[in-house]
Symmetry: C2
Subunit: 351 residues, 2 copies
Amino acid sequence: MPATGTDTLPAAPMAPRMEDVARLAGVSMMTVSRALRAPGTVSAPMLAKVRAALRQTGYLPNLVASGLASSRTQVVAAIIPLISQPFAPTLQGMTDVLRASAYQLVLGVTHYDPRQEEALVRAFLSRRVDGIALFAGGHTEETVAMVRQSGVPLVEMWADPATEVLVDSVCVSQRLGAREAVRHLRARGRRRIGFIGGATANNIRQQARLRGYLDGLDEAGLPDDPAAREVAGCFLMEAGAEALARLLTRRPDLDAVCVASDILAVGVVFEAHRRGLIVPDDLAVTGFDDAEIARAMYPSLTTIDMKAEEMGRQAAAMLLERAGQGGRVDLAAMPSRRCDLGHALILRESS
Amino acid sequence: MPATGTDTLPAAPMAPRMEDVARLAGVSMMTVSRALRAPGTVSAPMLAKVRAALRQTGYLPNLVASGLASSRTQVVAAIIPLISQPFAPTLQGMTDVLRASAYQLVLGVTHYDPRQEEALVRAFLSRRVDGIALFAGGHTEETVAMVRQSGVPLVEMWADPATEVLVDSVCVSQRLGAREAVRHLRARGRRRIGFIGGATANNIRQQARLRGYLDGLDEAGLPDDPAAREVAGCFLMEAGAEALARLLTRRPDLDAVCVASDILAVGVVFEAHRRGLIVPDDLAVTGFDDAEIARAMYPSLTTIDMKAEEMGRQAAAMLLERAGQGGRVDLAAMPSRRCDLGHALILRESS
DNA sequence: CCCTATCTTGATAGCGCTAACGATCGACGG
DNA sequence: CCGTCGATCGTTAGCGCTATCAAGATAGGG
């Protein structure tokens, strides 16, 4: 705007409020409020007047005030370990579902640290979010207590069906999936099957996958050789490569590796190439999660599909259902719900 | 709690309010408020009393009410095209900076659709976020108008330094980066250099990278051959693979491809392998963004580092600075700020 | 010793909206 | 023709916090 001098207040062009819309339309504020939130309860002529005034003023409802008055914020929180594969698709699934319901997503990242998770839960409860989706397992006592106390709708994701959860959960068969990977490798004639996974502390997914691997060995009558198992330092491809290097130093005669994450498995395949090993001829590799790269890489990666995006969709849907029923939930009273997405072995070139 | 019957209201265990804390501490609400938000302005004995009462009640401040009263929500919004490489690291950078300042991030995904961006901006303005970070370019007029009108602190990310922006921006040298990739390929003795990029509609990053490629050809005195350029349908590895397939059908004699995205470039390398071409001997490949996989894959990928995570950090920092100065910003009056992160060619095995 | 400057604390008045209930009006059955 | 009911709209009273300013306390200077 052309400077009019600063001798007088610049006549702050305050954003229009609902009252302004109401005055312009010649109706009460409540009618405007209803026209926005429940158009069905307003008569046609009134609605038309309000809509005209809305257009004319360019009114943007103040959802902060709305949230305070109605104690519903139309926001749900997602708390994830990392913004990366395979969690990004879960987030994508959540935003897709939430968008359709005019809900928004606030994001928190824990870096697999239960205390950061606790801090995030506290912050989100302070914001009075209408629901929280977090990853199963690895909660502090305080986290559990706060959630219980507050009664926010809660969904845990990425649990194994056998995992004990707080309330609602969306789970995938992590343990059965790993067992199936081993079965598959056995069926391909592999006998010396190693394992590479991430750290199991605070990570029940990795715990379940390791157990599934052991189940598979057991079932096949193969002994568990701890030296044929290796832990990757973090979920980066390079960590997978390094883990394979260490593993092969100890057990150079492995003919297959069951890897508990596609990201790690990709590193494993690259490292195998680097060493002149042919995948799958010299070394068969199976991954976990069915990340994008599993399908796209060459050789493409046999993996266990964890339905990451669908998990996000389901989690969001469950939260919306609870939130729609009008907010607070008594965790003791409500029957907890569990949505099991199963798993699927996806056969590709790496095995 | 043990069911006491439903004949009477279950005596809702209302979350404690600031008033409850104040009463317990024997002070006024304002003192509690100050103890929380500006401890320095409260005397030591008072502070101690309040802190004790806070612990005892397990009080969680209601940030919705706080936001309404103070018209600062302590939330900033990030609007991104997709939750994937190379944007995930940008998001990560933002959350890391925001966490330190007790701000939260709300997330919006546009799928490269300007109308979805508009809807998200509207929603976030309705929530009275303290700042919005979005991707440069591809805004509707209405989006620009709303942002201007509202005066929210705004940062555009992933711009090219030559791009016209709305207010503040964090940019990287997309065009120069692509030119440097071509220079590098020339220096390696390549003469038939193709190009693969994503759609340029609503995507100024891809536009700038294409221009940089053309700059590079021009500089080297090489003619631009439109048939040596190909557009990938989306940002998936497979789309990169398919694009290379189409490109080689028309120009089988290419000895290098400049690819405007690591995700696509990875697909290109895999497709080359699939066709028995050796990278880089038969075909040199350069990518863009320096995604994790560029470093980890075999052969590792020469690429242009776009400082994705640093970009998120800078964007968040700029927003916090504006927000800290007390909110609303007059876009006409404020001097716009630009943070140029440059770019860096990262030499690896693929070229 | 009084008056002003500085620091703390408290009382008051909203922030912009919605829940809850009351008022109004036309329709309809007895 | 009156009472009742449902549909629609308005009035009132907050939601839980903070901005603002006034009041009291303390300190310092003339």
